[in-house]
């Protein structure tokens, strides 16, 4: 789960001299929201986002209608981008959770992936959401079970051995501390090729654990 494997390679990019009108057009055409700004050799110098292209009304109201046209046509990526050091980036060998944390902390929607100053990809919040969905096996038919277990060693092993003993397989899994209940954890697993009733029976047989949700997907 490294950034390198989940980023979008060859991101759409613009130069500092690209006009904002064109940048706007590129974003619309390719349906993206972030445009890294690069100089020769794909060196990252800035980032243009959709918010950055919104010109504050105060700025415009001070101009008359003729000045607005000229103001807009002279505006380039360089004028509106987040500049140089202010762009928050990530390296290709960082983990996805690092990336998620960075994005959450700064409340940003994308991280240019940079190696030695050269942009090699881009990771957006959508990429992370897709990976979250994949992590729990979305779209794969199977039985999704949520089990509440006490916070102590060996509980997860009980589940895996119970399922393995019936020759079923766990396709995806995730564990998270139960919200507002510090003493227990919620474990989500997706089991394939297992009849729902039999699976519930097996899992309910585990002492100290509680099956709190079952759904077929």
């Amino acid at each position: 789960m490294f950034v390198r494997d989940y980023m979008t390679k060859h991101p759409v990019m613009v130069e500092p001299t690209t006009s904002t009108v064109e940048a706007q057009g590129i974003m619309a055409e390719t349906k993206i929201r972030h445009l890294p700004v690069v100089e020769t050799g794909k060196r990252l110098v800035g980032l243009v986002t959709r918010e950055r292209l919104r010109i504050p009304p105060a700025k415009l109201s001070s101009l008359n209608v003729w000045e607005i046209t000229r103001f807009l046509s002279n505006l380039t990526a360089k004028d509106v981008m987040v500049k140089g050091k202010d762009v928050i980036t990530i390296g290709p060998d960082a983990t996805l959770e690092d990336a998620a944390q960075t994005m959450a902390k700064h409340k940003i929607g994308c991280l240019p992936v940079v190696e030695e100053g050269i942009i090699i990809g881009i990771l957006t919040e959508v990429d992370l959401l897709v990976q979250l969905a994949d992590l729990l096996g979305v779209g794969v038919p199977g039985v999704r079970v949520t089990i509440r277990v006490p916070d102590r060693l060996g509980e997860f092993a009980k589940i895996t051995s119970a399922i393995a003993s019936r020759n079923w397989g766990i396709y995806a899994s995730g564990a998270i501390p139960t919200p507002k209940q510090p003493q227990s954890w919620d474990i989500v697993i997706k089991v394939r090729h297992a009849p729902k009733e039999e699976l519930i029976e097996v899992l309910q047989g585990i002492e100290g654990q509680q099956v709190i949700d079952v759904r077929e997907t």
């Binding site: 979008t8 390679k9 060859h10 759409v12 990019m13 130069e15 064109e22 057009g25 590129i26 974003m27 055409e29 390719t30 349906k31 993206i32 020769t40 050799g41 794909k42 060196r43 050269i118 090699i120 959508v126 990429d127 897709v130 990976q131 969905a133 994949d134 979305v138 779209g139 794969v140």
Partner: protein, 699 residues
């Protein structure tokens, strides 16, 4: 599933692109209404015959059209940005950073006077501003990435010091150094041997996966397309006539032109007894002669109606993104297609085997090479020989065809030239109709010369450009007095008709003919003296598939009619299988396997034959093919390996022989007879070789 959610916009999107060249006669529209999209990590193949505008499209994307070319209509969007109308400086920057190109001939792309290391690292220092030492290191990494053996040393070499396949790998490495989003490849493997081609194609597949690069792959070879492409666009006379996924196009071609192309290529395994090749009648019109306001393919189409001649069809969706430019795609059933009258002539059945027409035993052709030692200056040095043909024995029964296959440099052409008398053999015997053909050409009887003729690969270089076609065909007739003087003209016309050219060609000059027509004249000339044996050296290699089908059919008809014996040299194993009764596989001057065609293409195989067969691109994306790739390059014929010549690259000896195949290095292998006619030059016992699976299994 991730892919479904993350719908990326295409890397490259062409919409209704039209490209024209300015000429003396006004603007000529070379390409029109071309639209396609290329997505990341997919390969879009552009196929079509020569002159269909494939390369023009590729050059148009980066505006490399030259001074007289221009994009007159449509839009080309790269990563959402319009490329049409961009300044030269902008485009140059894009080409350096994000778009890379690989062309057919690697020597054209490499500077012969600069070492490979300098050329590679220059890309990084110029475009990226990386320090020289760092750039050198990154270049070595990239060479390793394209599986270059001994990459650190290769960096210090000049382009001419590495083989053709390695040169092409250097060009690909150079293209990838800047990690481009789009790679345009124009016939990148056409100039390479089939075994080298296979390795390069594997490499392209790997790189596409690892670098997420979008690739536009231009080729005329339907087999290569089936192997590397995900989507295909078929071009005809400057228009895209069909696009779709590779499976859809091969399984269920919707445009009559695509269907015609599929009928032109022999599938590996088909023979002239079991099937026929059907050429597409007529020829690709020149840009200025293309029908206007009508379907461009209508003049050659078997299904054309009045509507086709008066209305121009648009590319339209037939099913699930499979699009064709035809009014009747839903109606046409290609399986119900019947060849129109006269497209292919009925071929008389083959004659039963008679006695051997030519017998060759232990034939050798050595070229003397001056030794580099000082002694050789005074004539005392040890002489060295390039063993171009060594210990070759075979015989061809009358009226049959022997196909000769092998990589370039294996001695195929030298063998033909030795038999026809253009090279003097150094030893061995060759008898033809009771004549000894090892004697020098000047001592040969006129009768012998008459009975032994040759068709060459390149008709351009074998025809005198200032003599008319009629004159050139009449020449052997007069020389050999095949017919009386008065009837020479009639005989030339008869020969022209026999190769499906009408009498008006008599007064034409070679430059007024197309490639296929020139080759027909070459064939007519070879058959003018009514020879017993015709040696064909790659007669169809330079031709487009539809013309190739016509020429192969022609050769076959003439052979059946006159009972001519043929030796057919080619590197395309499907064509050889189709055309030949017997096949000889050559490696480094030796015949390593010989026998009836059906035996060669089924186990037991000589390991080299097996490797060759697994490298051939098959025009069928669903066929399963074994994956055997040969290491290294063909050793020098100046100093061939001891024992079995193939032992240095043999992938089988270590696993199938005791002691890791030591015996192959020291001892010459025996000729093992599988059947009376089929023999294999190998140490591995036939019982073991028989256990190998067939190379190709059709699904």
């Amino acid at each position: 599933m991730t892919e479904d959610i993350l719908q990326h916009s295409p890397i490259l999107k062409l919409e209704d692109v039209a490209i024209s060249y300015e000429t003396r006669y006004g603007d000529v529209e070379a390409v029109r209404q071309v639209s396609f999209e290329v997505h990341r990590a997919t390969t879009f193949g552009v196929v079509g015959e020569s002159g269909c505008g494939k390369s023009t499209v590729a050059f148009g994307i980066v505006d490399f059209l030259g001074a007289n070319g221009k994009i007159v209509d449509g839009s080309i969007k790269f990563q959402g940005r319009e490329l049409v109308g961009r300044s030269e400086a902008d485009l140059r920057k894009l080409r350096g950073d994000q778009i890379a190109m690989v062309y057919q001939d690697p020597m054209q792309a490499l500077n012969p006077s600069v070492t490979i290391g300098d050329q590679l690292s220059e890309v990084l220092t110029t475009h990226r501003g990386i320090a020289t030492g760092e750039a050198w290191k990154k270049s070595i990494d990239m060479l390793n990435r394209v599986y270059m053996p001994d990459s650190a040393n290769v960096m210090k070499r000049y382009p001419h010091q590495i083989s053709g396949g390695q040169q092409q790998r250097v060009v690909i490495a150079m293209a990838l150094l800047n990690n481009p989003a789009l790679l345009i490849m124009d016939e990148p493997t056409t100039a390479l041997d089939v075994t080298v081609e296979a390795v390069v194609l594997d490499l392209i597949e790997d790189l596409k996966r690892d670098f997420d690069t979008a690739i536009v792959y231009i080729t005329h070879d339907l087999g290569v397309v089936a192997r590397v492409c995900d989507y295909v666009g078929v071009m005809y006379a400057g228009e895209m006539v069909e696009t779709g996924s590779v499976e859809a196009i091969y399984d269920n071609p919707q445009h009559p032109y695509t269907q015609g192309l599929m009928r032109c290529v022999p599938r590996l395994g088909t023979t002239k007894e079991s099937s026929r090749l059907y050429p597409i009648r007529g020829r690709v019109p020149a840009p200025k002669d293309r029908p206007k306001g009508a379907c461009i393919f209508a003049p050659r189409c078997d299904y054309a109606t009045d509507k086709c001649h008066s209305e121009h069809p648009q590319l339209r969706d037939i099913q699930n993104g499979h699009r064709a430019r035809c009014f009747y795609s839903e109606v046409i059933d290609p399986d119900a297609w019947e060849p129109p009258e006269g497209l292919v002539a009925d071929v008389p059945p083959a004659l039963g085997a008679e006695e051997d027409l030519i017998q060759v035993s232990d034939l050798q052709t050595y070229y003397e090479q001056a030794s580099r030692s000082v002694l050789s200056l005074v004539g005392l040095g040890e002489k060295q020989y390039v063993k171009a043909v060594d210990q070759v024995s075979f015989s061809i029964p009358k009226g049959k065809t022997l196909g000769v296959v092998g990589e370039s440099g294996c001695g195929k052409s030298t063998l033909a030239k030795t038999i026809v008398g253009l090279e003097a053999p150094s030893g061995g015997e060759a008898h033809f109709l009771g004549f000894d053909v090892t004697l020098p050409l000047s001592n040969r009887d006129l009768k012998l010369i008459q009975e032994l003729q040759m068709v060459f690969q390149n008709p351009d270089s074998t025809m005198n450009p200032s003599y008319t076609v009629g004159h050139q065909i009449a020449r052997p007739l007069e020389r050999f007095r095949t017919v009386t003087k008065d009837s020479v003209y009639d005989e030339v016309i008869r020969l022209l008709n026999a190769v499906r050219l009408d009498g008006s060609y008599y007064h034409r000059l070679p430059r007024q003919l197309s490639g296929g027509e020139k080759q027909r004249v070459g064939i007519a000339r070879a058959f003018a003296s009514r020879p017993e044996l015709v040696l064909c050296d790659e007669p169809v290699s330079a031709l487009d598939v539809s013309v190739q089908a016509a020429v192969l059919n022609l050769l076959m008809e003439i052979q059946r009619e006159y009972g001519t014996t043929m030796m057919f040299i080619a590197h395309d194993l499907s064509v050889v299988r189709f055309f030949s009764d017997y096949v000889a596989v050559m490696y480094l001057g030796h015949v390593v396997e010989i026998g009836p065609a059906e035996n060669i293409y089924a186990p037991p195989y000589m390991p080299y034959t097996e490797a060759l067969l697994s490298a051939v691109p098959i025009p069928d994306p669903t066929a399963e093919q074994k994956h055997i790739r040969l290491e290294g390059t063909v050793p020098s014929a100046l100093n061939p390996p001891s024992g079995c010549v193939f032992h240095t690259r043999c992938p089988r000896r270590a696993e199938m022989l005791p002691d890791g195949g030591r015996i192959c290095e020291v001892e010459r292998p025996p000729w093992q007879h599988n059947t009376d006619e089929h023999r294999i030059y190998c140490h591995i016992p036939l019982e073991e070789l028989r256990k190998l699976d067939p190379v190709v299994t059709a699904v």
